[in-house]
């Protein structure tokens, strides 16, 4: 037995120190690997901001603030004249119309899924909507280009133009001629695309309402609509607004769904059936062939888009976080 214990005594302390050292080294290494990876998220954001500012600098120096309210976009003129008004107008108008369509429909679907739908149908419909949120945007764009554009130009647009012909204001908004490529077509595709986002966030948010509250309302004789209007929506208001802003952030920056179908015209027209462009569509269609000041102008457009979406998304996250802390209580 003495031999054996000798071995342990000899080997024991030595091994222990070595093993502990290895553990310690592994621990410290792993800690720093994870910490540096986490910090890389911040570096990416910093990198995006810096590279956009550096790229946009020549255009900022050349045009200054007048870039924001110049409508003319003539990159081949000498010197090039560039203004962001057209794309900014297109971005805001398409997103606005898209939200106008998608918010009521998305909330309607969410109410249907949480309050009205029979239990066995909830999972399939909910899952279908989640899956559709994952379809790449180029598929929506392609479908809009080949199917929706011609359909709208042949049926919906002539109808609206005829109905509102001669009506002040509305007549100008729905003015002809019908077109395969227009702001409205792009907005409708955007609406279809953000619909699943709004629905799935609203469903999640509606689920945070404590069942007791709803049961109490039903108990005193409220109808389904009254429960939704007076209990569910007030309770989840912040979350709904957060979800809508998140969808708006998506709509503002969406590229491929819009590029094919918007027509790439930098002129601002009062009619929503006229071609237009958005910031992302302008970048997508012109960037690869651009150089010099033109390219710098496009990067400046990108910087504007990034600032815009950053604030919208930040507001959305703050609101959703507020709801989370409320639900956590």
């Amino acid at each position: 037995m003495a031999v054996q214990s000798d071995v342990i005594d000899d080997a024991g302390p030595y091994d222990r120190a070595k093993a502990l050292g290895a553990f310690k080294l592994g621990d410290v290494t792993f800690y720093w690997i994870t910490r540096l990876s986490a910090i890389s998220v911040l570096l990416i954001l910093g990198g995006i901001i810096i590279s956009l500012i550096v790229g946009a600098f020549p255009a900022i120096k050349e045009y200054g603030l007048s870039f924001l309210w110049t409508q003319r976009w003539a990159p081949s003129a000498d010197p090039p004249v560039l203004g962001a008004l057209g794309p900014m107008y297109g971005t805001l108008v398409t997103s606005f119309i898209a939200m106008l369509i998608a918010i009521p429909v998305g909330l309607g679907i969410a109410i249907f899924l949480t309050e009205l739908c029979p239990q066995w149908l909830r999972r399939p419909i909910g899952m279908a909507i989640e899956l559709l949120a994952g379809i790449p945007s180029i598929i929506y764009g392609m479908w809009g280009f080949f199917v929706l554009g011609p359909f709208l130009a042949n049926t919906f647009q002539p109808f609206m133009i005829k109905v509102f012909d001669g009506v002040p204001v509305l007549g100008a908004i729905f003015a002809g001629p019908p077109s395969y490529l227009s702001l409205f077509n792009a907005a409708l595709i955007l609406a279809i695309m953000v619909l699943p986002f709004i629905t799935s966030i609203s469903v999640d948010v509606f689920k945070t309402v404590p069942p007791v509250l709803k049961e109490a309302a039903y108990g005193v004789g409220c109808t389904t609509w009254e429960v939704v209007r007076s209990v569910v929506i007030p309770y989840t208001r912040v979350g709904i607004i957060g979800g809508v802003m998140l969808a708006l952030g998506r709509a503002l920056g969406e590229t491929m769904a819009v590029t094919f179908i918007i027509g790439n015209s930098f002129r601002i027209s009062s009619s929503i059936f006229a071609p237009g462009t958005t910031i992302s569509a302008a970048i997508a269609s012109e960037f690869a062939e651009s150089d010099g000041l033109h390219q710098s102008g496009l990067i400046l457009l990108g910087l504007l888009l990034f600032v815009l979406t950053f604030f919208v998304l930040a507001a959305a996250r703050l609101m959703l976080m507020r709801l989370e802390t409320k639900a956590g209580k």
């Binding site: 592994g26 998220v41 429909v105 109808t223 960037f287």
Partner: protein, 281 residues
């Protein structure tokens, strides 16, 4: 009956009807998209699509082999770079810095990057990689995809690790396991299916990403494996073919779109099945 009751009931019926109509409206659009995609995509799907390279203008012979291979390569590299970084970053947020000030800042920034416009990521990589390297390249495209993968993986990793019950960690620590091994041997193992779900979802997200590839990887008409040059890829090829005047190119675009959609749906469904297994346990 009291008129107030009938009015309330009428409103309820109207709103219910509108909600059902909204659901029907939404589902119809989405079904229409899938049906046209299947109809047009299947019409042109044959073996040639997988064995031949993209055809020159006007030709009616050719497939998408080079684009499919290029997309696979770039997606694999993109996920290969992005997923480990995202996993480690998510680990830090959930394990080391749970109550850190830094963590809440990173979490907030990560959530914004998660929904940042992908074309901006393209501009970033153009400025950070394409300009210094003096040319479009497959590696730039892969890096752009990696930047999109990271926030998705960070988010799911953190969420999944936070679900691992603390007593597991405490038990491991009580046995004398160092912190890094507690994470690697206990937390990772308990959250494994969740972590894989995150990586699958991120892969699905980048598989059809087009905007960031438009001016990083560009695309070409040839079969090429060089990472330092432009590389054909499905999304950009579809983008170019859709707007072309050639019927055969448009046909190929539909087939490519169908392939991408099926891949993305399969990845999503796979991720969900894995996720469901976890909650069922």
């Amino acid at each position: 009956m009291n008129p107030i009751y009938s009015r309330r009931r009428r409103w309820d019926v109207i709103i219910r009807g509108l909600c059902i109509a909204a659901a029907a409206f939404g589902v119809t659009w989405l079904a229409l998209i899938l049906i046209t995609l299947l109809y047009n995509g299947l019409a042109g799907l044959n073996l040639q699509v997988f064995t031949a390279d993209t055809p020159p203008p006007g030709s009616t012979e050719g497939g998408l082999r080079n684009a499919i291979v290029g997309s696979l390569i770039m997606t694999v590299i993109g996920v290969g770079i992005g997923a480990p970084l995202g996993l480690f970053a998510g680990t830090y947020l959930a394990e080391y810095g749970r109550n850190d000030k830094l963590t809440s800042v990173i979490r907030f920034i990560n959530d914004i990057l998660l929904s940042a416009p992908s074309i901006i990521i393209g501009l970033f990589i153009y400025g950070a990689v394409v300009v210094p390297m003096r040319g479009f390249s497959a590696i730039a495209g892969s890096l752009a995809l990696a930047v999109i993968v990271i926030p998705v993986v960070v988010r799911t990793t953190e969420d999944m690790l936070l679900l691992v019950p603390n007593p597991l960690r405490e038990a491991a620590s009580a046995l004398g396991l160092p912190r890094s091994l507690v994470i690697k041997r206990i937390a990772y193992r308990a959250a494994r299916s969740g972590l894989i779900t995150g990586v699958l979802l991120a892969t699905a997200r980048v598989a059809g990403e087009t905007a960031p590839l438009l001016f990083t990887a560009l695309s070409n008409q040839f079969f090429s494996l060089g990472l330092d040059k432009t590389m054909a890829n499905l999304p950009v090829t579809i983008n170019n073919f859709v707007q072309s005047p050639y019927a055969y190119w448009k046909q190929l675009a539909w087939s490519g779109a169908l392939l991408i959609t099926l891949t993305v749906l399969a990845l999503n469904i796979g991720a969900r099945i894995l996720g469901a297994e976890r909650t069922a346990k």
